[in-house]
Amino acid sequence: MKLPPYAALLGASIGSEDGTAAPVLAMPFGNDVTGRPGFVHGGALAGLLELAAITALEHALAAEARGEAGFKPVNVTVDFMRGGREKLTRAQGHVSRLGSRIANVEAVAWQDDRDRPVAAARMNFLISG
């Protein structure tokens, strides 16, 4: 699975893949993703969540042998729950429904403890082909 150039700008990469669940993305803390001093920028967190959602959708389409299908984001809703601190942020998406035209995808981002998310997103995608 290949991430787009924007992932490199964020410093995000695929951290772990276990085959069945969507891959977990990892984004180290650094100046390029800093917002107010000492905290991850909300836009960088949202960008990481979107990449996780897109990665989960590609993963789910591939599992249904629809890996060639294209898709476009329709919208995203991001909830910011905690400030992201100066440490590694992880994110994973989950496709809650994969239809022929629309996919509903959730993504969550966390740092030390997955049960204490820093941000979460819901995305809707329009699928073509």
């Binding site: 787009p4 924007y6 993703v33 920028h41 949202a46 979107e50 995203v76 809703t77 910011f80």
Partner: protein
């Protein structure tokens, strides 16, 4: 004790503050008013989210709108007051045209003591044909609130 907003010039603030994520994206000041702010996101190949189509990722557009609406809140409050984004919803109306800068305009249309309600658009040249629409809220985080 309640914190008072600290007046500032967003043009100076955004021009001097080229560090961090906003600086990495190259986000720059365009204009502001009593309750709004307009910022620009220069096109860059590094922002590409769909290599086959040459379209920039939607993440940088959220970062742009987060910053533009955030400054819009400070304009309406009469100055800087620490706050955090509570939520943002972005509708992607159409892909941004490859090669074009994206302008983000954020407006604060309602303020309470704790919450600021914002809305805005992103466009790539024609404000009547936006690429994205945003709605969201910020909450104050300063002491005494």
């Amino acid at each position: 004790m309640e914190m008072l907003p600290i007046p500032f010039d967003p043009k100076v603030f955004l021009t001097d503050c080229q560090d961090g994520h906003g600086g990495r994206l190259g986000i720059r000041y365009v204009a502001h008013g009593a309750d709004w702010c307009e910022l620009a996101l220069p096109f860059s190949l590094e922002l590409i989210g769909h290599p086959a189509r040459g379209v920039i990722a939607s993440g940088p557009i959220i970062a742009l709108l987060d910053m533009a609406t955030s400054v819009g809140v400070w304009m309406k409050r009469g100055g800087f007051l620490p706050h955090a984004t509570l939520d943002l919803r972005v509708d992607y109306l159409r892909p941004a045209t490859p090669g074009r800068d994206v302008i983000g305009r954020g407006e604060c249309y309602r303020l309470t003591r704790s919450i600021a309600f914002v809305r805005g658009i992103a466009h790539d040249g024609d404000a009547d044909d936006p690429v994205a629409h945003v709605a969201g809220t910020f909450m104050t985080t300063g002491a005494g609130v």
